[in-house]
Subunit: 699 residues, 2 copies
């Protein structure tokens, strides 16, 4: 595959030119050279500067044309106009990659955007990959390559390690690098993408997924520009069993983006990104610390497909604290087998042997007890993850060495488990524990969050391909936005059932339809121009007699004329009223990046007020639809809470999967679909759309 | 007041006896002596040991009787039986306080509990305060007093500071101390309460509230044993404007406690503790780090009553990250005034001047810009809190001193604001920033959480006393659990209205009642023995004709006989059916610690499935009831979401406040009240209980 290998010239070059090279090691054109000299870059470094014979003691060249060889990568650190010319020239010479520091492009307005487009076009034509413009740059410490001008290098370089950083923000990407360095976590490769005229953060993630020396990928996202490369990168990472930990900002703007359809206004692109990350098993971190907590543990490369946590603690309180956190995170903490509990109680009468296993401070008086307890947890409890809370006792001279020996013994006998220590100790002691295979966190809650993430990765890595999306005959979208009856006809072709109904142009036809369906019926205005009927009183429920049908017909026509005098009126829709089910909403909206997105939630209140919804990129199979339905908080209502009969979830899942295929096949003209409500009848009785709105964009 | 001053002998003693004193400084009876000698305890230390003339070079005494003076406090470090005898003897000699390390009391079973009761009784009779038993103990570093045997002292003592630790767990309390010490946060007083035979964590919080040298109180809670002292302590802390930060474990056990009534089973005591903490403005931390993050910032003693946050950043991404966190925390981030924004843009064209104010890395080239920007945020933006994100640039030699100077200037001119820095820097540099009044956090999200907490404290400290609970005539509880009609009569006496209804013993009486109210009506089984009628089909809605009333009467009687053959049947209740309102649940359950607790939520699904409820200790006024109603997530449904008319919230609030007074006055025999549903009609039309269940305990 290696679809991302075109970035290798950029990120692992064998030779570098610096356009706008400076002798001052703190200037933007000087920092990369100083850093590469400092870190011993093995390849040739070729400063380009028309005014100097040498730059930082290296022979300099007057122009790109004067370069004695074609570099793998060129760093461009000259003003915008000159940068465009430089990129054009570099591409012409066959350079594989350019890192453009220069600013004043798309980020400052239309004129800059035009300049950026010119630059990108030149690179594309020349087959050159372009990082930036307006990028802080990238480094690859393994070869001493520093195509970056960050001040963070003033305080040090990355220690050894196997964590990559892919960031859309230069300041934030190097912040993560600096925090990691303080924590002694090695981030040998850090790439910040700036304006993303060519190389996107997805490309970078993908390149790291293929890089044999990176095990864990951390990413900072503000918004995805190119779905294709981003999804391919996430899939490449999953296939390579490399965890991707994501910091995505902009949660609070959820719902602010102006969106045309009802469903889209609920979605917001942040929720969609969430759904996409979950689909590929990438884990979203809430804070920078969490990002690195998860990355730190992930470097152990142990990802339990079915994660269970056993906690051994000298503080009952800390045990409860961890249990609280684990439950919130959905991390299982099953109890120890009863026989093992009894054995532990014989060893130490006041221990609490269930899980958390509280060995109490007593165990510290005979440290071999800690070993026996932990061994029992792994051998008998069979936990895939063990968290040992020993607080300051992990530091105490009288305890630390015994603790290391005892826990180390268990680890040697069972190396396939995750071992996490929550201790307070000197940096040296912590480094010792880490070297022996224990990941150390001072705070037990943070340890628990990291452990839970390993299970999410493991589940994603182990995940078998699910059911294929169902076969749905391709539909032909009409020329104009369809009315409700037409919309339902289209949906019926895809196997999505509505309640029995008939379009009626006279009151007598309505009475006839109602008599055929049986009373009560629902009556609705039928017009392609009135999308949200209930707002103008255009829906009548519980119409129970023929006389009421006649009166209702007149009333609906009157209301439509009054509230929407210009709307085309096509009569009244009469439908059988379905009682006794659970009302749901199924929807589609078109995300500008990820295309059609399906939504599932319960009746309007749950969606609009409680925001209790599930999203998923289209298309998908019934297994995914079933997961979506069961994932909402209110799912118990469908499963039979409060004495209700369980709803027909297979029918709902079938409808949702078919809807996803329909939306996927319909192409970009389909703006949104709202099936609101869909009534899910009791198990075996099906699910029916009571209303359907399909919105189309221009041809 | 000084109601907690009886703890002073325990926690700030002038002389100490150690019963079971040991020469070994690592033994339980040796550690306190070693620590006091090390920290220069000023008072007399009197080891008691029958076998030695000296202990750790101090003259020892053979017995309590041999003590040359009555110590303020005695530390008891002998086995359980001997400890009881020692306490009896100490109390007899007039000692003011005892700290009992000894274990094997209530924590090991009934026999130990009896022993503990004997010990507590002896102390009480002698007027002696007792900490423990099974307590790790307490320290007060300001006077060098160490009545504690924690191994955490092996690695150091607290640095100077003004944070107190009150903990029900010894291991966890000293864990907090050790983490704080690593962070250079001073916790001069740490008290762990063990089995709480006498002194509770509430007493300790109260004592710290009255201690002039403690500014901030951190507390670890597993469960409150004594509501009275706990509430008095929280009130004392609030009155003294001392923040209380709480770690309360056991969230995940919510709902597990077996509770008799419907409402109680929803509550669980964790939610009640939450409500009590919120009532007094104590802030609950989710993690140990958060506990200390909040305590750290609180030592600045700036608690904005109306907190607003201004963010200045060199990374746009970090700005968005903070905005996300602030919105989730309910911390306002209003934009800068337009004129000020224009001025800043003139200073630095590429800056984003709204809020977050992104001064970009450009500002670092002329560091005076950072000063001008920050000054504008305080002077023009008038933010009460300023968060400055400078990541690793706060460490760079070229920037740090200028940054300190510029930010320091703003702080000197406006010392009444909270200044928080998010920088990565050496411990020395961080200490320098801290000394100049900037609280430093590496992680910007953690900084934001701490800032938000200061506003919660400020709001609580500024809070005026609210409305008094309404006058409600005292009700007389009946001898037996009342049926629905009786329950509604009782509630009516308190001014709580039910829908018009009539108890009917014959079908014809039911028809007459229905005709009087007007159709449709609701019909329900009337029996004191059938509490949850709907589960047996004992409720009929939409009964629309006289014939249906007759049929319904027969059906209900038949169902009652079938499902509950032993129940006393008192007929059928006929009530007017109220349509068009919002269904709510109002409830009372009796918490074993805090007494009657009121609950508010929307109709059953929202309470049972979504857990969207508000709790409050009874009694309270209509202002508090109004807050409760508006605090639930689904509140928009009452305020007019989805085109509904707004509900009559004043009527709901009146009902809830009256219910709280009724429950308070009713005394401990009242187990629970369920008003489910209550229909809140549109504004001005009132709120009516449609069903009422009152459960009473034994006399």
């Amino acid at each position: 595959m290696e679809r991302f290998s075109s970035l290798t010239g950029l990120l692992a070059p064998r030779s570098v030119a610096i356009i706008g090279a400076s002798s001052d090691p703190t200037r933007i054109g000087g920092r990369p050279i100083a850093a590469m000299l400092r870190r011993g870059f093995q390849g040739r470094i070729m400063p380009v500067n028309p005014n100097r014979a040498t730059v930082q003691d290296l022979p300099a060249f007057a122009s790109i044309a004067d370069l004695p060889e074609v570099p793998d990568v060129a760093i461009v650190a000259v003003p915008a106009e000159a940068a465009v010319a430089a990129v054009e020239e570099l591409a012409g010479r066959g350079v594989k990659g350019a890192i453009v520091f220069s600013a004043a492009f798309a980020e400052v307005g239309a004129e800059g955007a035009a300049l950026q487009a010119r630059m990108a076009a030149a690179a594309r034509v020349g087959g050159m990959r372009l990082l930036g413009p307006n990028a802080l740059g990238a480094f690859n410490d393994r070869i001493g390559f520093y195509g970056i001008f960050s001040a963070s290098l003033e305080t040090g370089y990355p220690p050894p390690g196997r964590i990559g950083i892919a960031s859309q923000s230069g300041a934030y990407g190097t912040h993560v690098f600096a925090v990691a360095r303080e924590r002694r976590l090695g981030t040998p490769v850090c790439v910040t993408t700036g304006n993303e005229a060519d190389v996107t953060v997805g490309d970078v993630i993908g390149w790291m997924a293929e890089d044999p020396d990176i095990d864990v990928i951390t990413a900072y996202l503000e918004g995805i520009r190119d779905a294709e490369s981003f999804l391919a990168a996430l899939e490449a990472a999953r296939a390579a069993k490399k965890p991707v930990v994501v910091m995505k900002v902009g949660r609070s703007r959820l719902g602010q983006a102006a969106a045309r359809s009802h469903t889209a206004s609920i979605a917001g692109d942040d929720a969609v990104t969430d759904a996409v990350l979950a689909e590929y098993g990438a884990v979203r971190a809430r804070t920078t610390e969490e990002l690195l907590d998860i990355a730190q543990l992930a470097t152990r490369r142990i990802y339990p497909a079915r994660n269970t946590l056993g906690v051994i603690t000298v503080s009952g309180g800390a045990g409860v604290l961890v249990s609280d956190a684990a439950e919130e995170l959905g991390l299982a903490m099953p109890p120890m087998p009863v026989a093992a509990q009894e054995r532990l109680t014989r060893l130490l009468p006041y221990a609490a042997p269930a899980n958390p296993v509280d060995c109490t401070a007593q165990a510290l008086n005979d440290i071999s007890l800690v070993g026996q307890f932990t061994e029992a947890m792994v051998a008998d409890g069979d936990y895939s993850s063990v968290l040992a809370f020993f607080t300051h006792t992990g530091w105490a001279a009288s305890i630390a060495s015994g603790l290391r020996r005892e826990l180390g013994g268990v680890r040697t006998r069972h190396p396939d488990r995750l071992y996490v220590l929550s201790v307070l100790a000197s940096p040296e002691l912590v480094a010792g524990y880490e070297a022996e295979g224990f990941s150390v966190y001072g705070d037990p809650t943070r340890a628990t969050v990291a452990i839970a993430a390993m299970g999410k990765f493991g589940a994603a890595f182990a995940h078998e391909p699910g059911l294929p999306p169902p076969d749905v005959p391709p539909i032909t979208l009409p020329a104009e936005t369809p009315n409700e009856a037409e919309a339902k006809r289209l949906l019926a072709e895809a196997g999505i059932a509505a309640a029995p109904e008939r379009a009626c142009t006279t009151a007598e036809a309505a009475v006839e339809a109602a008599s055929a369906f049986g009373f009560p019926v629902v009556m609705k205005i039928l017009s392609p121009d009135i999308l949200h009927k209930s707002e103008i009183g255009g829906v009548l429920l519980d119409v129970a007699t023929a006389d009421d049908v006649r009166a209702g017909f007149a009333l609906l026509i009157e209301r439509a004329r009054h509230h929407a005098p210009d709307a085309r009126l096509e009569g009244v829709l009469v439908a059988k009223q379905l009682n006794g089910g659970v009302e749901c909403i199924l929807g589609i909206h078109r995300d500008p990046v990820f295309g059609p997105i399906a939504m599932f939630g319960l009746g309007g209140i749950f969606v609009e007020v409680m925001r209790d919804v599930a999203f998923r990129r289209c298309p998908f199979g019934e297994d995914v639809a079933d997961e979506m339905i069961r994932s909402i908080k209110a799912a118990p209502l469908l499963l039979g809470a409060r004495g209700r009969p369980p709803a027909d979830i297979p029918a709902l899942a079938r409808m949702l999967a078919r809807l996803s295929v329909l939306a996927y096949q319909a192409g970009p003209r389909l703006t949104s679909i709202d099936l609101n409500p869909v009534v899910a009848l009791p198990a075996g009785e099906g699910a029916y759309a009571l209303d359907a709105v399909i919105e189309l964009g221009a041809h």
